[in-house]
Amino acid sequence: MGAPVPRVAAAVIALLLAASALVAQPDPIPSTLSERVIDVEAAQHAKKIEHSFRPWQAPLLPFLVFGRVMEKGFIAVDRNHLLEKAQYYMAEHDRGFKPLFGGLGIGTGFALGVEYYRNDFLRRGGRIGIPLRASTLLYQDYGVDLSLPADSSQRVSLDANAHYRVRSQDDFFGLGNGSRAGDRTSYMLQSRQFSFGPRFELTRRLHFNARFGYNSTSVFDGKDARFPVITARFARSQVPGLRNGARLWAGEVSLVHDTRDVPGRPRSGGYHRLEAGWRQSGDSNDFGFWRYRVEAERYLPLGSRNRVLALRFLGITNQARGGSAVPFFEQVILGGSSTLRGFREFRFYDTSGVMMSAEYRYNLNAYADMVLFVDQGQVARQPGDFSWSGLRTGYGGGLRFLNQSGTPFKILLGRSNEGTRIYFSLGGTF
């Protein structure tokens, strides 16, 4: 009995030779060929080589097979108009189902779903959607979204939604700016939420929103087996909301001023949002706080629309009322692909937070922007506790893939004092 390696090698070589013989079919040569501008025999020989597989091409075999599969696949897709079919099923019509991809956030696994929708629901411009999403890490989101215009010009509308969500393994590192990356734990949230409120389009660029709702959230140990569960490292008494979750009545108003040229891939203009909110326990828990949020984005062309400096500021504070507390999952959370790049998702929790980004974007072609960025941010109990020395810094760069109206996909590499992270994310302006 020979050693297995030579046997396998012999089998592979035999297979390659057999494949070579199968592929290298001789060309039928017409008998009527008369004078050609080339040496016919030499050209026929060259053609045979071109269309045959030779053993020395073995390293290329995977590429050749891949190429052939791609060719057949693309032809099948085009001949059967599968892209048009997919586009049809993904686009909205009067009513129907459409597939959902992602939408549950970074680090939630591969999410798929379906949404039943109906446009012009109840009245012209109205819409109802029933999205159902689940990911490979068992994150789930099921709900109903309703939007009804109040007037024919659709400048005033009433929005309402109700959702049941499960976040199976979000991370928690402790409260405060000084939490340690090594204290990573995992928790699960299960929430039932509904809200409703009017939306006013004051001008084309100025919007006012108001919301009122109720949110019931339960907290459990996380499902990420790689890390300890939250209760194994943090006492229930130390982390507000960890013991029983929270049942909160919520209300908020916001004013949005949007002057971006193309909101999905802005090259000039800005986005500004002011928000004030209120939360109050709906059960025996003592949770009650005001929330204030300021958000500003500016896009400054640098001598050309192909070079843009994008700036962002985000400030949030939750002010507890009368000795109440703020549940940890309602606090400011920084870290990850959309807030403080270079750090893990959900890296920092506290009642207040501030974050700034500067991003230099330059155009590579119609479909891609290159990005260099610096993010700084910190969390604290009170805005007065913010300090320059407390700012956490991340920096990096990457590619933003563009289409006509937005940024469907980004690949970013972020670095901080806690390491280097790669982010693949869908959508978003930052």
Partner: protein
């Protein structure tokens, strides 16, 4: 002048030295690398042509009867991925090896007629009327009655119908202009069609037509793939949908281009590299076909951005009881300033869809470098012309939608051949072709003509500057009755260089032997006395040998480098016979 001649020989020697400067081991390693990666090594491809004159053929017999090949299907999406990520690196690696001149070139640096190409205007000057008529062999669709749709449009982005039959039972493809850009698509299609036919390619017969909506009827078998990817019976609503987005003339008729169905059976498109396995006539790898290499410069002139396999077609035709494949160029709706139903974007003609090199420059300079066409794109001056300009146009930097291997293989001799074709059109002929576009705005027409002429000069200058622009060598008689070799200097003829600062140098040698017979000499004028040459070369002339007369032009214009053309002469019965010539 002898000093300059000496310098020439030194320069020649220097070039040879430089060519051999790479160590043999490195060249061997490089060849092995090419062999492995390309699968089409230079050694495997080369047909083993010996140095010396090429075959003196004006017809390449690639129209022998062959069994009917299978129909091939292709897709834009596969073309994109294959050309961008598969073929472009392979082409790059392939070109690292020995440079190969085009294979299908005859003794006179021209191409024989074949199933791919027919020598037309540049060798057999066409009249203005012939240029304007193009491939058309009759007056066009008979619209005295109904236009019956046989099939909805299934491919491409433009507005139209797949196939439609006129009253004379001829079948056409019908394509309209978009409502936003009237005349853009149809004019580009027809004008480019006229040029490509005159340039020698197989192009379809095309006419601009005007149809009334009520003339259009739907055939009982007409099917359509709708925008949702479903095939169904075509309805009047589909016709209305097409017409709704199409440009309408003030008299209520719709302007369209009617392209006559190609003769023979459709067998799919051809690629710009390799050969077609089921076509035994197809022995020349397409990247080594001069007409496909030179098509790069021709397409650049006409801004035929959408040149790609999907816009070509092989048809199985019967001619003189022989059945073979004929190869066509199609779908010129994205030529000139058009990108089908809208004007070209700033990128088109300057960058591939995915162009690593174009992306690399801004990437490496952190965006400080941005190409001029992106920073200051040419404006769309006339909606019916689209984005078409000559100022930023740089022939050798022009790019089609996808990288094409044959285009990458274009060498200086191919560029010269293409430039010759481009420069063969007079202003009157250009005007005649443009008039076929039937633009209603005279200013737009004039702009198009002017831009084409400016681009023509740029393309011509490029082709004539990268290769010796000496051509049309022929034997004649001197005043004294002796033999003379006469030639044309196309750079002078086209006004790219001045006669005052131009003179020529030549060397004379026996084919296959190193060293010159006598010293290199210089002269003015376009004729060399061969009798004098014999005397000057001395008794070394073998009565039956083949000789090489290498000629180069030296000019006052510094842009024109010294480039050589080798003329092969045979000595027979006391007289020279011209065997052909070849460009370095």
């Amino acid at each position: 002048m002898p000093e300059r001649a000496d310098q020439t020989s030194k320069a020649e020697g220097g070039r040879q030295k430089a060519a051999g400067a790479w160590p043999a081991a490195f060249r061997l390693l490089l060849s092995a690398f090419c062999l492995l990666l390309s699968g089409l090594s230079a050694a495997a491809e080369a047909p083993g042509r010996k140095a010396g004159p090429r075959p003196a053929l004006w017809v390449d017999n690639d129209t022998a009867s062959i069994p009917e090949p299978a129909r091939k299907f292709d897709t834009l999406h596969y073309d994109f991925f294959y050309a961008t990520f598969g073929q472009a690196p392979r082409s790059f690696v392939g070109r690292l090896g020995a440079k190969q001149p085009a294979w299908n070139v005859n003794a006179w640096e021209e191409m024989p007629d074949s199933s791919w190409y027919t020598n037309r205007h540049h060798l057999h000057p066409m009249t203005v009327e012939q240029v304007a008529r193009g491939a058309n062999q009759h007056a066009g669709p008979d619209l005295s009655g109904r236009l019956t749709i046989l099939e909805g449009k299934t491919a491409g982005t433009s507005l139209g119908f797949g196939r439609a039959r006129d009253s004379a039972k001829n079948v056409y493809f019908i394509k309209f202009d978009s409502a936003e850009y009237p005349e853009l698509t149809t004019a580009s299609e027809v004008i480019a069609d006229r040029f490509f036919h005159a340039l020698g390619f197989n192009a379809p017969q095309e006419w601009i037509i005007y149809v009334r909506p009520e003339q259009i009827e739907i055939g009982p078998e007409a099917k359509i793939w709708d925008k949702n990817g479903r095939q169904r019976q075509m309805t009047r609503a589909d016709v209305e949908e097409v017409l709704k987005g199409s440009a309408r003339a003030p008299d209520g008729r719709y302007r369209a281009v009617a392209s006559l169905l190609l003769p023979g059976r459709i067998k799919g498109s051809f690629r710009f590299h390799g050969t077609r396995l089921d076509d035994p006539n197809d022995l020349i790898p397409h990247q080594h076909r001069r007409e496909l290499r030179g098509l790069r410069l021709l397409s650049a002139w006409l801004n035929h951005y959408d040149i790609r396999p999907g816009n070509t077609m092989d048809t199985y035709v019967e001619q003189d009881s022989r059945k073979f494949l004929r190869h066509y160029l199609l779908d010129f709706g994205s030529a000139l300033g058009s990108a089908s139903y809208f004007p070209k974007t700033a990128r088109m003609g300057f960058s591939y869809v995915w162009d690593t090199r174009e992306m690399g420059k801004p990437f490496l300079t952190l965006g400080l470098y941005q190409p001029r066409w992106r920073e200051n794109p040419a404006p769309v001056k006339f909606p019916s012309v689209g984005r078409f300009e000559s100022e930023m146009f740089t022939p050798h930097l022009w790019k089609p939608v996808l990288p094409l291997v044959a285009f990458d293989y274009m060498d200086n001799a191919d560029a010269f051949w293409a430039a010759k074709l481009v420069m063969s059109f007079t202003e009157e002929q250009v005007r005649a072709a443009v008039r076929e576009g039937q633009l209603s705005d005279r200013q737009a027409e004039e702009y198009l003509v002017r831009t084409l002429l400016e681009r023509q000069r740029k393309a011509g200058w490029y082709g004539f500057s990268v290769s010796a622009p000496l051509d049309g060598f022929r034997l004649g008689k001197t005043v004294g009755g002796g033999q003379a070799l006469t030639f044309d200097d196309l750079a002078l003829k086209c006004g790219f260089a001045g006669p005052a600062g131009t003179y020529y140098v030549y060397t004379f040698s026996r084919l296959g032997q190193a060293g010159y017979l006598g010293r290199p000499r210089s002269f003015r004028g376009h004729s060399i006395s061969l009798d004098e040459l014999m005397k000057w070369a001395g008794p070394a002339l073998d009565p039956k040998a083949v000789f090489t007369l290498a000629i180069a032009a030296r000019r006052a214009e510094p842009e024109f480098e010294e480039r050589w053309v080798k003329v092969y002469l045979a000595r027979e019965a006391g007289e020279f016979r011209l065997l052909g010539w070849e460009r370095d």
